[in-house]
Amino acid sequence: MIEEQNVVKVGMADLNVVKTSGIIRTTGLGSCVGLTLYDKNVQLAGMAHVMLPSSDIAREGQLNIAKYADTALPALLQKMQDMGAVRSRLIAKMAGGAQMFTFSSGGDHMRIGPRNVEACKLFLKEYNIPLIAEDTGANYGRTIEMNCVTGMLSIRSVQMGKKEI
């Protein structure tokens, strides 16, 4: 699954890793969360583009594990461990989880961004992976990319320009 090129693209409800050299990127995060894990020793970066908080609500036949926070994290973790990452060395960063539109009324799914963020935090805690930086919430979209050499996560948005965490 690893492409032999410098930029690995992670689609919506997708996950992937990049090792030794290169960048891993996902574009146009709105209420979705870009969850990244990084192991500096082996220069391995993994990223999941999480769309929904929990697979409990799934009504699809074949579960897309990268789509839900509760299934994406263990899958990403496994994939990275298979490639030499050690769980105790992993650190997490994440971005996204915005609330693109605000409504005075509106059901729970209107708050999907914050709920995605909460779910990711919960499962990181469960797996004992420290969340060392985040750029979440607010009301704007983000494109993120992680450099697997430095572990820096750079975040681009229309309103806020570029920043690194």
């Binding site: 209420s31 769309m51 693109m100 539109f101 409504f103 799914h109 229309v158």
Partner: protein, 208 residues
């Protein structure tokens, strides 16, 4: 995907007609507001993977202005009116007499005016659909955002997210003449709305 397996050609044509009627009325409303002819491309009904939906407006990072409505009633769904920021400024100039600032962003006043224009168009889109199908459909208060297309449109896919990795959208483009795109309507009915729409229009359902 199971959800779409019964959507053979005829049903897709019915959905195309749904888009035609809704957007046709909205185009008429826009044309009256602007006092100039607005053309409409033939609606497209497509089942697309989530990844490709933002490609319809120029890719996930393309900056677009979008007015979003949640459709409530018997056939719920999500409705977007998407336009380029330039087209948005053009609308403000011609409709509200607001000479939009040269700046990239819209002021609160301009946003409010745009949301209201969207409201009028969405209202005529949905009310004509409601008349056609006999189903109640009404838009929520509009939400407006100018941001990356991917971030905005994904918001309308959450109901499909629980079902699979594709969504069905009814896409109609407004044109001035044959070239200048004035805006695009996307109707993304919730998965459970399809049967209701078909039933109301007398399309036989096959439950096999």
């Amino acid at each position: 995907m199971d959800l779409f397996k019964n959507l053979e050609g005829f049903k897709m044509d019915v959905l195309k007609e749904v888009g035609n009627i809704g957007a046709g009325n909205a185009a008429t409303a826009l044309s009256q507001l602007l006092d100039k002819p607005i053309d409409m491309a033939v609606p497209k009904v497509q089942i697309l993977p989530f990844e490709q939906i933002a490609e319809k407006v120029g890719g996930p990072e393309q900056i677009v202005l979008a007015i979003f409505f949640r459709v409530e009633g018997e056939a719920p769904g999500n409705l977007f009116f998407v336009l380029t920021p330039e087209a948005g400024k053009g609308l403000l100039r011609r409709l509200a007499g607001i000479e939009a600032s040269e700046e990239e962003f819209f002021t609160e006043m301009e946003q409010s005016a745009l949301a209201e224009i969207g409201n009028i168009l969405a209202g005529s889109y949905l009310s004509s659909l409601a008349d056609f199908t006999g189903l109640s459909m009404s838009p929520t208060v509009p939400g407006l955002a100018m941001d990356m297309a991917g971030a905005i449109l994904n918001y309308g896919l959450l109901q499909f997210g629980q079902m699979g990795d594709d969504a069905l959208l009814i896409d109609t483009t407004f044109l001035e003449g044959t070239e200048v795109v004035e805006g695009q309507f996307f109707l993304i009915p919730d998965p459970e709305s399809f049967d209701k729409i078909f039933k109301s229009l007398g399309v036989p359902l096959q439950d096999d």
